[in-house]
């Protein structure tokens, strides 16, 4: 009988066997009590509390990783050629965006204001009517700020641009930019604070915003763009 109990709780009895087992158990009060106690035990297992992760856990792990430098397990040592390409790309992007920025200054910006209720969902990319460089605005009574970010990739064949930053867990799939007249734009809804971010081209190439007001050392040999949001 003990073997049948084991097979029953492991789901190894077919329907007929399970029926026979339950009929046999039901005819014997002792066996029925045994079955119920097993069922209660497994139910108790589901009631075990979920342990709470200690505060600051993520930060402590990341702090240790930052002391390790670039892991030899993860990345090949960057070649000199690769570094030069990166610098060149950033420089060209800066020139192109400076030109686009000058063009946009002469146009009326029409950022659609949202209700405070809609603004309760941070980091949501919204539609826009016209492009512009980093621009902020807030809805009356809202604790959030609308931030419009624009980006013009050096490579015109780029098919997709996203933004990943501290506001969306650095998830490159969370917030896409929309293309408008060759410029990629998004509007973020963010509470006041200081955020670091990068643009991600085609899900592969990470580029710091060349027109960011300031950048911050990422601790791993590169820089992140910094976005300061104020009400």
């Amino acid at each position: 009988m003990e073997a049948l109990f084991a097979r029953y709780f492991d789901g190894d009895l077919d329907d007929r066997e399970a029926q026979d087992f339950l009929e046999k158990v039901g005819s014997d009060p002792k066996l029925e009590s045994e079955l119920r106690s097993y069922e209660r035990l497994l139910a108790l297992g589901k009631e075990l509390p979920t342990p709470r992760v200690p505060v600051g856990f993520t930060e402590r792990v990341m702090a240790e990783l930052s002391t390790q430098g670039h892991s030899k397990f993860l990345w090949a040592k960057p070649s000199g050629l690769r570094i030069q390409w990166t610098r060149l790309a950033v420089a060209v992007a800066a020139v192109v965006l400076a030109y686009i920025g000058g063009w946009l200054v002469g146009h009326n910006l029409n950022v659609p204001m949202r209700t405070s209720e809609e603004a309760r969902i941070p980091t949501t990319a919204m539609n826009y009517d016209s492009g512009g460089l980093a621009e902020q605005g807030s809805a009356a009574g809202s604790d959030f700020q609308y931030v419009r970010l624009s980006y013009a990739p050096v490579d015109p064949s780029v098919r997709q641009v996203a933004i990943a930053g501290s506001f969306n867990n650095w998830n490159p799939d969370a917030t896409s930019l929309q293309r408008k007249n060759g410029v990629w734009v998004t509007i973020l809804v963010l509470p006041p604070g200081s955020y670091e971010y990068m643009f991600v081209e085609d899900g592969r190439r990470w580029v710091a915003d060349p027109l960011a007001a300031r950048t911050r050392d990422d601790g791993f040999g590169g820089v992140n763009a910094v976005l300061d949001v104020e009400l």
Binding site: A6, R36, L41, L44, V53, A164, W170, M198
Partner: protein
């Protein structure tokens, strides 16, 4: 955390965005810490091993080929670390509880620490959950492991076998033994409890 998000973040980290790894930690720390807390029963050890789990995952990210879910891969690292910790602590013991139970499945594991309670006292569900937690901590680690992974966290025997390298058959034998041990511990007459006392 959705698996496709994991893949995107793994890609980002591999492309040099080390800080993106924080997203993976945030997405999986509850599962990893929770598993280790239940396996070790010690918050300090659980945190230490969870920390080490993520550090090792980062260091070995290149070897993660996406054949399994990232969450499964993490749990595998966590289980291995918990097992290593058990081995370290066992070095000074002459006979392990596992070995004793292999020889005698009915060995009185809880004999010296039975909880006695007043039969007239109403036993709440909460009391029983606490007692189950205590009983789990007193179990041999491999028995605790199968109960936690299969009966608490609903991981199939096949998946546990893939994670641990044990055979499905041996896992089922161990699961049966641990159910029997815990049932005796919580519901036998020695403890003056019946299933009805607990949940009606």
């Amino acid at each position: 955390m959705a698996a496709h998000n994991d893949e995107a973040i793994v890609r980002a980290v591999r492309n040099g965005r080390k800080e993106a790894f924080a997203g993976l930690i945030d997405g999986h720390k509850e599962s990893v810490y929770g598993t280790l807390m239940r396996l070790t029963g010690d918050p300090q050890v659980a945190e230490e091993l969870a920390h080490e789990t993520f550090v090792r995952a980062y260091q070995n990210l290149k070897s993660f080929r996406g054949e399994s879910r990232f969450s499964t891969w993490l749990i595998q690292i966590a289980i291995n670390l918990a097992r290593d910790r058990v081995r370290e602590h066992r070095r000074n013991k002459t006979v392990s509880l596992e070995a004793m139970l292999e020889r005698d499945p009915d060995a009185p594991v809880f004999a010296e620490r039975r909880l006695h309670c007043n039969p007239l006292r109403e036993v709440s569900l909460r009391d029983m959950v606490v007692r189950l937690g205590i009983a789990l901590r007193e179990l041999p680690p491999s028995y605790r492991e199968i109960f936690v992974l299969h009966h608490v966290q609903d991981i199939s025997y096949e998946d546990i076998a893939a994670l641990t390298g044990d055979s499905v058959g041996s896992l089922k034998v161990r699961a049966h033994r641990v159910r029997k041990l815990l049932r005796e511990r919580l519901f036998t007459e020695a403890n003056h409890l019946t299933p009805e006392d607990v949940m009606g």
